[in-house]
């Protein structure tokens, strides 16, 4: 292993000087700087992460807690992960991956053992049991999502309440008077996943405000569930002409089943999907969407985290405004 001492000896300077060249925390003469950097490159020196962490109390690692379940939108989760990792690297940090189902103890462990400097937590629930524990941690935490009481924890997310309203608004503007929501799976609602609850609220409230009928439904991922769900939906509410799908996993199934039952999109049913823009074109009809800005959210979360690490302590909640893109799946009644 190449150590800072070897680099120092090779460059004819003291170890501390090498350290300062690397960190830039004090001014160095151009000559020694050159000398040191040369030696570093020649020897292929990389500072020992553990030693560094021990001496500086900084690991340059962010812990990311993700839900690795299959009843969730895997593709979307992946986008979040990708953008967090990318943003982290842009800020010279690495990412340690934790899964939600290791429970709160894992967060404790990672924080207390100084495996990471800060935590980014996804898949937050409305009344998330992890919040109190996260507050007790002596490390910066940023939530992707928004519990009912963040209690001072900074949050980043799409404004799902507004998103629900935008979907309803768009369809109502087109003259639809009866709008159904195909939401996430029952399990997601059951455990009070924050984004699902917020979207539902936005959806329902906007419908009331616009005086249109709202028919909210949860939906499991299997084709049969989708199919029988739509059976029930149209049987009970034959007047439904607008569909908001907040569940990317079932999008193909919903579209396929609609066609199967002879309902054309958008002539007979208008469909608004809530999903990443990149998924809008992978369907028979280009979908009108409210985008899930995974990229921005991830980048923002990392930025806020890094800022916290810099000592800035702004516990703001940032809910990104929804963006509607009209494509081919919606039309007036």
């Amino acid at each position: 292993m190449v150590t800072i001492h070897e680099v120092a000896r090779a460059a004819g300077v003291a170890p501390s000087t090498v350290s300062y060249v690397i960190s830039g925390k004090r001014s160095i003469s151009p000559k020694t700087k050159r000398l040191v950097e040369e030696s570093i490159r020649r020897l292929g020196y990389h500072p020992h992460a553990g030693a560094r962490a021990l001496a500086s109390s900084r690991t340059s690692v962010l812990a990311l807690v993700v839900p690795l379940r299959t009843d969730l939108n895997v593709a979307v989760v992946m986008q979040f992960v990708a953008s967090v990792v990318k943003a982290a690297r842009d800020h010279d940090h690495d990412v340690l991956l934790l899964t939600k189902d290791e429970g709160p103890a894992a967060l404790q462990r990672v924080a207390s053992s100084a495996l990471a400097d800060a935590l980014i937590v996804m898949d937050v629930e409305s009344d998330d049991p992890r919040v109190p524990m996260l507050l007790a941690l002596d490390r910066p935490v940023v939530l992707i999502g928004a519990p009912d009481s963040p209690s001072g924890l900074p949050c980043v997310d799409l404004d799902f309440t507004a998103a629900g309203a935008v979907c309803v608004g768009h369809l109502a503007d087109l003259g639809h008077r009866s709008i159904a929501l195909v939401g996430p799976s029952p399990a997601v609602y059951r455990r009070g996943t924050s984004y699902a609850a917020r979207f539902l609220r936005g959806f329902t409230d906007a419908a009331r405000a616009r005086r249109v009928k709202a028919v909210p439904r949860s939906c499991q991922h299997s084709y049969d569930a989708v199919s029988s769900g739509l059976d029930e939906l149209f049987a009970r509410h034959p007047d439904v002409t607008g569909l908001v799908v907040h569940n990317e996993a079932v999008l193909p199934a919903v579209l396929s089943d609609l066609r199967h039952r002879g309902r054309r999109v958008p002539e007979d049913v208008s469909v608004v999907a809530v999903c990443p823009d990149s998924m809008a074109e992978n369907h028979p009809v280009a979908l009108t969407t409210v985008a899930i800005p995974a990229e921005e959210v991830g980048a923002l979360a990392v930025e806020m985290t890094v800022r916290s690490l810099g000592g800035h302590t702004s516990a703001e909640t940032r809910l990104l405004a929804p963006r509607l893109t009209v494509r081919g799946s919606t039309t007036h009644v």
Copy 2:
């Protein structure tokens, strides 16, 4: 921060004793063991990861290199990641997430700075430029995938060559004489992604052996690409009655488009999908599949890695035998 010294003082023993209680590397009297464990729990002690790494040259962290692109099977990648993380935790390790597009330098960095003890590398290419560098690393490496010349690096993967053959075999057994392959995107083939190449070879070779016609195609993810791809396919090869889809992302589009053009599954076209079993039921027709055993592969990769860390140096390549499950999407001609 709670240190080993404080635990030691609380328990009335020496720090080294605490260390030994934790590691179990020497026998401890039941009494002191109890005492120490008690203090550990009471104080909420977690060993400092950096200090530990520094003293022991062990981080208990595995680096996982994943392709976070969107032209790949995101859902499948996610399954791999999930199973690796789970298996790693089962072996008392954490996972550091690296993306492929940071390039080979990132692997160097992580290895040399002792951020991780070992590397697990996904999305291996047939002639992967990272192989020589991985060999030069002084750390255990396990590949998920199989380059043409592993050069001694241990590999784990589904036997995609055999999988291609199984798909053809099943359809040929049912009497299909002309079989098309809907493969990954052109980009995946272009960069020589190992599994794509191996599957294609298995597919083609088996077709030749069985004297059936093979029509291999790559396929981009957009609906239009799928649709025009099938246009071309059926125009040029109207005799095709068997379809092998090795591209989960386009599965819904393929099925939807088949129905659209009036080809019923399985009456007119038999479809075999290569995808995780969990995706078989999310379609109008339950799909006959050759499973991608992400779970097993991930777990196996971790096991091999941990074994390597234990000093066992078996550079074997383990290709898991494909498993065909017949469901509703295939039938005899």
